[in-house]
Amino acid sequence: MTETSETYLKPLPATDVLTAPYWEAAASGRLLIQRCAACQRFQFYPRAHCSACGAGDPTWEEASGRGVVHTFTVIHRNGSPGFAEEVPYVFAIVELEEGPRMTANVIGVDPDDVRVDMPVQVTFIRVSDGIGIPQFTRAD
């Protein structure tokens, strides 16, 4: 877990009743994903229904935090605050061990060393009590 300074310029999630548990858990170092009680599928991002079968009230489960880089790009141009200063950075789609894919940065690695299918492990940037940003770094 990394604490951020007061000068966090990147966009923060506008949380709502559905998503607040996800961001709050991340602030305490846990990655939650939803699972459907009816069809057992995991889903990302959270909704109040299962996007595979339509059943209601998926439950939260803690993910292992292990996954692989499904695909990625090293972004060299982004004029937005927080990112303009950070280029080049890795923008990736991580496929979790449980199945769903999520968007994240791969951090703590030279961008040139990132590869498709590279194993990664979740880590968290704590922004506030209510918001932690899940990120990924190379798995040992």
Binding site: P13, Y45, M102
Partner: protein, 388 residues
């Protein structure tokens, strides 16, 4: 859905020639294009009973009731209206919807129009401003620095990893489009480039370079469509709509089913089935080229080659005029123009090629053309098959 195949025709088309129109409101560009497209058809505003546009983005006018507001600017009160907003595919979807409405007797003369002043307003569409907000699903993507170029780069990276596609093969598409643009007096960029130029240009989002990305321009265009029966009395040779298909994928990149394909895998086969044709019958394909990878995957998705073979397919001059399947004969979005929803120009260039009225190069013996639009971040697709 095959009932209206061939019973509806494009009778008017016009593309605004300017690539920079500082100070001009995009609604006026639409109006200029509509009036010239109607003149092309030998029709007037009085003949129009249907209107379609999408103008929700800021450089398009930022309209919340696009088709209503632009109809007002034009001075018409249509009884058929469509502001389908599926990104760059919108004009093709709107034409497909209009064709069905005309065949069903719900409209007689429909105008499909588009314009944006993205260049003059200096809108950062590729490397900055996100397309969705940080509320709702966007909150799981925007905190990580999403850019539109980056979204397509995710696809290019995966395509390279799965199939061995190379940056040089992607570059072939940019080089071909520039070669075609060098004959188009209106094209934004006309100086020829080489594969080396493309791969040596700055990386925007790996593995995509600057020359893998479309140009940013102002501009617009309009199409007039009516029944094949009424088309016989119009000024120009009618261009018949033989087939149409549209499809939807996702918006958030973490919802992509497959990074090496677009919704064209659905819209393409639907359009070919509707037309009763196969890809080998197409004389020219005007396909969306927001990025080189977009065009490459679309060619695969439409069945011009098998999935993964796109890199080899676009090499050796096959997609140039004179090759087996000339694409983007006006120079495409990569070199001619890209104000936003470039789908309108894939239709207009198809019409020009089928009529034998090219801005630059002409595909010989051009009888059947395909136009294909793509929108958002590999989000949508619409395919049209057109013939004389």
């Amino acid at each position: 859905m095959s009932d209206w195949s061939g019973q509806v025709a494009i009778v008017g088309a016009y593309e605004h020639p300017a690539r920079k129109t500082p100070g001009l409101h995009p609604f006026q560009i639409q109006a200029d294009c509509v009036l010239r497209a109607l003149e092309d058809a030998g029709l007037t505003l009085d003949d129009v009973d249907g209107f379609a546009t999408a103008a929700s983005e800021v450089p398009e006018g930022g309209s919340t009731m696009s088709a209503v507001e632009v109809a007002e600017w034009l001075g018409i009160k249509p009884t058929y209206l469509d502001s389908t907003d599926n990104g760059g595919a919108a004009p093709l979807s709107q034409l497909g919807h209009a064709a069905a409405a005309i065949a069903a007797g719900q409209a007689e003369v429909v105008v499909i129009s588009y314009a944006a002043t993205t260049y003059s307003q200096a809108v950062n569409i590729g490397t900055g401003d996100p397309t969705t907000g940080v509320a709702g699903p966007g909150q799981f993507e925007l905190p990580y620095g999403f850019t539109l170029v980056g979204a397509y780069a995710l696809a290019a990276q995966r395509h390279m990893a799965e199939f061995g596609t190379t940056p040089e093969q992607l570059a072939e598409i940019a080089v071909t489009c520039r070669s075609h643009a060098s004959h188009n007096p209106h094209a934004r960029f006309r100086d020829p480039i080489t594969v080396d130029d493309v791969v040596a240009s700055p990386v925007i989002a790996s593995p995509l370079h600057r020359y893998d990305c479309c140009v940013v321009t102002d501009g617009g265009g309009a199409i007039v469509v009516t029944s094949a029966a009424r088309a016989r009395n119009c000024r120009k040779q009618p261009i018949h709509v033989l087939g149409f298909g549209e499809a939807v994928g996702q918006v958030q990149m973490n919802q992509m089913d497959r990074f090496t394909a677009t919704p064209g895998t659905v819209s393409g086969p639907r359009a070919f089935a509707h037309a009763g044709l196969t890809p080998d019958r197409i004389d020219t394909a005007q396909v969306y080229d927001s990025f080189t990878i977009t065009a490459l995957m679309i060619l695969e998705d439409l069945g011009f080659c098998t999935k993964g073979e796109g890199g080899a397919f676009v090499s050796d001059g096959r997609i140039a005029v004179g090759g087996d399947l000339p694409i983007n004969t006006d120079g495409g979005g990569l070199s001619s123009n890209h104000p936003g929803r470039r789908g309108i120009f894939t239709i207009i260039e198809s019409v020009r090629q089928l009529r034998g009225e090219p801005l630059g190069l002409q595909v010989p013996d051009c009888e059947i053309a395909l136009a294909h639009g793509s929108g958002g971040a590999l989000s949508t697709a619409a395919t049209l098959i057109l013939s004389k």
